[in-house]
């Protein structure tokens, strides 16, 4: 009896924790998105505007977070960078979800040689660490914004394809799919109406986590000079530009953009973790 009660209580408490995670994550992301949108209103300087009188100026005065080696205002670049980082990450994950889901649906529903060929390609992609793969693809494609979106989407799509394929294979065997086929629905109709919506459940949980990872990848690529390059305003590129100053003890060039990146990715992680836990609880209870 006593055991049953404490379990019920702890489950409720845990539900509160997952809600707190989701709310905090969403709030962080909302603040970052707002700051990105309002950048021209609250920045004071343009993202690539140079103040020739103040290179490597410390925080304070006309530059609340100081300036970098080029005399560009860190605070303003931080805000404008949020647009690029959020935009590229979300676009890349959206593209990966669409492409991966389409491939997974095809492979899972058709089976046979289509399934074999697609899954062997996925195997090859997944035989390498994802960041290494992203490095290679970025080095080959070159570093425009569109190319970066494609790079990050390409290394993420195989995981979605595998995930959706597994779901489709189990959904295909369910009675209601048979029922709609025997009642005369077309293959496409069944896929679109019944299989697709039901196979997206795990994707919804993983996509936010993946957005955070995409953002770290973009910043990592830029840090190595394979992503956005200065004067483009991107957090990883800003950290990279400021890294020689760090050894000399000038913190303001690299620490603020990294902090912004960490907080934003954390927003996605909190949201993803909360969603994951909620999904797990539903499954077990």
């Amino acid at each position: 009896m006593a055991n049953g009660r404490t379990r019920a209580v702890s489950r409720r408490a845990g539900g509160g924790f997952s809600r707190a995670l989701i709310v905090t994550g969403a709030a962080i992301l909302a603040v970052v998105a707002l700051a990105a949108l309002a950048a021209p209103l609250i920045s004071g300087w343009g993202p690539e505007e140079i103040d020739a009188n103040a290179t490597l100026a410390g925080p304070g005065g006309a530059h609340p977070l100081g300036t970098d080696t080029n005399g560009m205002d860190i605070w303003s670049r931080l805000l404008y960078a949020a647009r690029l980082d959020l935009g590229v990450a979300v676009a890349a994950v959206a593209l990966a979800v669409v492409a991966g889901t389409a491939l997974g649906l095809l492979a899972g529903y058709l089976g046979g040689w289509v399934d074999d060929v697609l899954m062997r390609i996925v195997d090859i992609f997944q035989a390498f660490p994802t960041f290494i793969l992203a490095l290679a693809v970025a080095a080959l494609l070159g570093n425009g914004t569109v190319n970066l979106v494609i790079t990050i989407a390409a290394v993420n799509a195989p995981a979605y394809a595998r995930l959706v394929r597994a779901e489709v294979r189990s959904i295909r065997e369910l009675p209601f799919v048979d029922a709609s086929i025997t009642s005369g629905a077309s293959t496409l109709g069944v896929l679109w109406r019944h299989v697709l919506p039901n196979s997206l459940t795990p994707v919804r949980v993983i996509a936010p986590l993946n957005c955070g990872w995409a953002m770290l990848t973009l910043a990592g690529l830029s840090f190595l000079g394979l992503g956005v390059t200065v004067p483009g305003a991107e957090w990883g590129a800003m950290i990279s530009l400021g890294s020689p100053d760090v050894v000399a003890g000038r913190w303001w060039t690299s620490v603020p953009p990294g902090l912004a990146l960490l907080v934003c990715v954390l927003g996605f992680s909190l949201l993803g973790e909360g969603l994951q836990e909620r999904a797990d609880r539903r499954r077990t209870s």
Binding site: F17, P129, L140, V247
Partner: protein
């Protein structure tokens, strides 16, 4: 004996995968844009100079001929000559692998210990304050840009406090360390060089800490999840109701089943660690494999790219093989 047969069978399965990797890298690196010859010649080089350089590296031959030459070399252990440095790729590789392995092994080892201790601790306090704090910390670790963390640790540990050496070099040159394996810590122990040992250790501290913090988060999460699963299982409940001693309960009934999945996870994390190592080596100017492979990729140094891709794939496959063997040893239900 059965274990040996298992390892042999797995190694045989690996051969086609590695062959695929060899062919694919060879073709892709040549088909996609970028010319390695242009990067070693000056801006004033003529077409004739370029053709001469191309002939020197055998790049003027037809592709199938180049591939056969490459395969012939591989069989005899010859990885070709680096276009950038002109040195044999095999000996460059030998110099670079030690420092990186030292970094990755220490960091993953440290992360494993921390993950097991904190993960089990957290699971036993599920949904209480301690558990929530550990989970939030793991999420922060998961969201951490490792290259930025490296810079922050340099800022605090070197620039502000001065406790750790500057981020350049791996051992103090004054200690006269005789290089043997390339892993300075191991070399210092082998040559019984005390000062070199402490110097290597202090150079390693910050990069290892950076990598360990990034790697510990996913491990911690899954140790917690599997420990929680065990704690809520009927077998564990039965063991507790029998009134076993807490230590027996912890060691025999919680740790062993909870840790069964750990080898497979450590293998997966090894992949993340390789990716992060490229960034961390860059931050700490650590002259390891990651920096070497990155430079090869940037300059389209074909032999270097081929060798490093092959090595990463081989390392990945071997780590998963080791993980399977450890899993089988830990879990008597697994038949190999």
């Amino acid at each position: 004996m059965r274990l040996l047969r298992f390892v042999a069978r797995r190694l045989l399965q690996v051969v086609p995968v590695l062959l695929g990797v060899v062919v694919l890298t060879f073709v892709l690196v040549r088909v996609l844009p970028g010319d390695p010859i242009r990067t070693i010649l000056g801006p004033n080089a003529t077409e004739a100079d370029a053709a001469a350089a191309r002939a020197r590296f055998g790049l003027d031959k037809p592709m199938w001929q180049q591939f056969l030459d490459y395969l012939k070399g591989l069989v005899t252990g010859d990885f070709g000559t680096s276009i950038q440095s002109g040195a044999p790729v095999g000996s460059e590789l030998a110099l670079r692998v030690g420092p990186t392995l030292e970094l990755v092994v220490l960091a993953v080892g440290l992360a494993l210990v921390v993950a097991v201790v904190l993960g089990v601790w957290s699971a036993r306090r599920a949904d209480r304050f301690g558990d929530h704090s550990v989970r939030i910390l793991a999420l922060v670790g998961n969201s951490m840009p490792e290259f930025w963390l490296g810079l922050v640790l340099i800022l605090v540990g070197y620039s502000a406090l001065g406790w750790f050496p500057a981020p350049s070099g791996r051992v103090d040159p004054d200690t006269d360390l005789t290089p043997l394996t390339g892993a300075d810590l191991v070399d210092a122990i082998l040559t019984a060089n005390g000062p070199a040992f402490t110097s290597a250790l202090s150079h390693l501290a910050l990069p290892v800490a950076t990598l360990a913090i990034v790697v510990v988060a996913p491990l911690l999460r899954s140790v917690r999840a599997s420990a929680l699963e065990v704690l809520r299982s009927e077998a564990y409940l039965a063991a507790t109701t029998h009134g076993l001693r807490p230590r027996t309960l912890l060691r025999g009934y919680l740790l062993r089943p909870a840790l069964v999945r750990l080898p497979a996870l450590a293998a997966l994390v090894f992949g993340t660690a390789i990716g992060s190592t490229v960034l961390i080596e860059y931050v700490y100017s650590w002259q390891g494999f990651g920096q070497w492979a990155l430079r090869g990729l940037l300059y389209r140094d074909y032999p270097v790219v081929q060798a490093s891709v092959l090595l990463i794939a081989l390392g990945y496959v071997l780590v998963f093989l080791i993980a399977d063997v450890v899993h089988a040893v830990l879990d008597p239900r697994v038949r190999i």
